[in-house]
Amino acid sequence: MEKHVENQDQDIVLDIKNLKKYFYMPKGVVVHAVEGVNLQLKRGETLGLVGESGSGKSTIAYDVIGMYKPTSGEIIFNGEPLHPDIHKRPLKQKGDMQIVFQDPGSSMNPRATIETNLAFPIKRHGGLKDRQAIHERALELLRFVGLPEEYAQKYPRSIGGGERQLACIARALASNPKLIILDEPTSALDVSIQAKVIRQLIDLQKELNLSYLFITHDLSLMRNLATKVAILYLGRLCEIAETAEFYSTPMHPYTQMLLSSIPVVTEEEENLRPVKLESRGEIPNPANMPTGCGFHTRCSRCMEICKTQHPQMKEVSPGHFVCCHAIEGKPVDTEAAVL
């Protein structure tokens, strides 16, 4: 086992081990936003993190990037454990890992031009001092993401949402990162613009061998983008699998429910969806978690044991892990799991 891990080390960019993040609210309320999550992301690949609103997707991303201090657990990036305090992380690490936020409106300084917004990471991580050089690098980055050069002198608010998101990606690229965390980068955009942004992301990944931690709630999009898909429910993983496997044989009742709810455009797609499962209720409040399996309140296959005991993660086929009492498989040790 040990050896196995070491071998893989070269390849694994991000390794999240048993991550927990609780928020302590007034009046003693504790929000269990992330409750023991294990994830691994390999170089040049895309890990899709899917879940309903409030399931803890962003919290995982923010733990990784350093915006939140994890309550417990370890995050290993490029083989080195990340310090929970962002201020104590080496500069290089900060540059190697970048984030693109969901809201294109607030992710760039509205008082500065696109170029000025790009200049900061260029200076800080590209080591460039000369204004001419910075200018040229900024234009290069814009070209890279397919934006015209004139945009360098525009203000963020005067360009469209999709273009702004591309500019954010350009900014993220300024420090030559290894990993980009994309927190629902396209959910505020139109499909036509989304397509443009996603295409750009895919091209860049190939060109630069980037790794993406891609957060979304759009399973159709994920199908076309991710190498591996993980489903999150109430801060816990339900199912992880390679993309093809995931969509061809979804196992977890929740996954099935999600997939069956997606409105699709063509008949082919419809045939791919699992049998129509009546979707019921909504995601409970993480401050007031149900006992046992978090999903039992909505599950059509709920058993007695589900109400009292949280199921263990099981490997049902190589690389396909499911966390459900109703599914048979090889139990996995959550503490040291490689998912």
Binding site: I65, G66, M67, I86, L91, K94, G95, Q98, I99, F101, D103, S106, S107, M108, N109, P110, R111, A112, T113, E115, N117, F120, P121, R124, H125, R131, Q132, H135, Q153, K154, Y155, R157, S158, I159, G160, R171, S175
Partner: protein, 294 residues
């Protein structure tokens, strides 16, 4: 080098053109600008445009005291025979001087403290700064200014000091709330995550976004500082004779109501005009500095 210098310039000037257009659409702001420009010009060139500049200093001509407005003295003369128009113009000058000095001290002090507290919200730095500010804000600024000015020797410097002491907390509070909300914006988070220093975050990320509210408030505050100064000088805690100040001109003029009304009315109109000007302009400034929307 030259090339890049030029290009941003032209984009900026285009933006400013657009902003100016937006500003000038509101004719009230334009009126404000005109008033302010006139007042400032009169203040700067007071020596040359007033008919009797010597009347703004140590001068008496009791034979000509209290004459009604006439061609020679368009606002009349006061109880010591001094030309009121001249004195009003010089009073503008002193009032503006006071406002400028008060604001140039209190704005940077207050703003920077507020931003620091806003960024470090929830920490002891926040607590110390904001509680200290609260103490100053717990009493209305003019009362504080009056109390301080009355304890010190009455003169312009001390009046300015007193007003400054009571003024900075407002900027602290203004930038505090702005900084608090901006520091939750993603671009500030991004800068933090990407290794931006504290100074970078204050001066490059947050401050530019506070500039618009600060400048707007500053423009409005020029009027209010002038009013506070006038109130102080009305009760004798500001500029001392023979230096003309709007407040002391009114307070000495009020003794001659209603017959020698010009003693009071013109300085009073002076105050109203100057505050009006800055108020109108202040509204326009926020238009002028509004962020570009698509």
């Amino acid at each position: 080098m030259e090339k890049i210098q030029k290009r941003p310039q032209s984009v900026r000037s285009l933006t400013w053109k657009k902003r100016w257009y937006r500003f000038s659409r509101n004719y009230m702001s334009v009126i404000g600008l005109v008033i302010v420009a006139l007042v400032v010009i009169m203040a700067i060139f007071a020596k040359w445009i007033t008919p009797y500049p010597e009347h703004a200093g140590a001068f008496t001509d009791f034979a000509n005291a209290n004459t009604a407005p006439s061609a020679a003295h368009i606002f009349g003369t006061d109880n010591s025979g001094r030309d009121i128009f001249t004195r009003v113009v010089f009073a503008f000058r002193n009032a503006l001087k006071m406002a400028v000095i008060v604001l140039t001290i209190s704005v940077p002090v207050g703003s920077v403290l507020g931003i620091i507290a806003g960024i470090r919200q929830g920490t002891w730095i926040d607590t110390v700064i904001m509680r200290f500010t609260d103490i100053f804000l717990s009493v209305p600024s003019m009362i504080l200014a009056l109390a301080i000015a009355s304890i010190l020797k009455p003169n312009m410097t001390n009046a300015m000091l007193a007003i400054t002491v009571s003024w900075w907390p407002w900027y602290c509070r203004l930038t505090y709330s702005t900084a608090r909300s901006i520091s939750r914006e993603n671009y500030v988070r991004y800068a933090e995550l990407t290794g931006g220093s504290f100074a970078h975050i204050i001066f490059k990320e947050i401050l530019p976004n506070c500039v618009s509210p600060i400048l707007t408030k500053m423009t409005l505050d020029v009027g209010w500082v002038i009013m506070t100064g006038a109130s102080l000088s009305y009760v004798g805690l500001g500029e001392q004779a023979p230096i003309p100040a709007l407040g002391n001109m009114i307070s000495s003029g009020i003794k001659y109501l209603p017959d020698q009304w010009w003693n009071t009315i013109f300085p009073a109109l002076g105050i109203i005009v100057i505050i009006l000007g800055f108020n109108l302009l202040g509204d326009g400034v926020s238009d002028l500095l509004a962020v570009e929307e698509e």
